[in-house]
Subunit: 119 residues, 2 copies
Amino acid sequence: MSRKKIKLAYITNDSARKTTYKKRSKGLVKKVRELTTLCGIEGFTVMNSPDFGSQVELRKLRKENRQKELKEVIFESLSGKGILQSLNAMDLDEVDLLVKQNLTDIDNRVRVLTKASRS
Amino acid sequence: MSRKKIKLAYITNDSARKTTYKKRSKGLVKKVRELTTLCGIEGFTVMNSPDFGSQVELRKLRKENRQKELKEVIFESLSGKGILQSLNAMDLDEVDLLVKQNLTDIDNRVRVLTKASRS
DNA sequence: TGGCCTATTTATAATAC
DNA sequence: TGTATTATAAATAGGCC
């Protein structure tokens, strides 16, 4: 947003994309902190950024441990209130699967109510 | 951030707080969308805002259904990529408990690796 | 790669309907 | 309560080291 207006599209240049990610995620953390503080609410943000962080190291974990890791991050996010967490090296496909495993019996009524509650 | 700089503290006035919440959460959604688009990553934000939305309606759900609801919201958040979800009427205490139930055997090694991976 | 810097773009607090 | 306006505060893209 500054020296020039940029197009809202995937940044193909690796270093530029990484720079933007670091700057904006920092700003996002600040925004979440401000919102939770000003309004006295709790919340968190999860970002899956395989490009950054110790990807290789986490890839060594067995799948079941990666699942524990997700739960851990969510738990810590809830405790930290509004801190941006990077789930490096964890495919959202896996996260998706993990959640689906607990969603075999979704009640449509719950789904409807949940959608109705969105601000 | 505009006509005047505000203090970063809980807004006690109900209507002012609600106004701020609505404006800022809208801005937050935009920021998340921009970040996920620009950097080609996936992510989501969860805000617990009991002040706003159809609180009463959701309160009628049995506890087990509220738990399903949480999973549903997380699932939809993952699918929606960067959409702000409001978990109206759901105490984060409950969310916290739900996650804890699945965290009885947390591996400290996972915890350390997770922390080390943060950007 | 990681900070700074600053010209601009955005986000938004206060106000008026 | 919602929407629109606008003066300012913040966030940040592109440079420079």
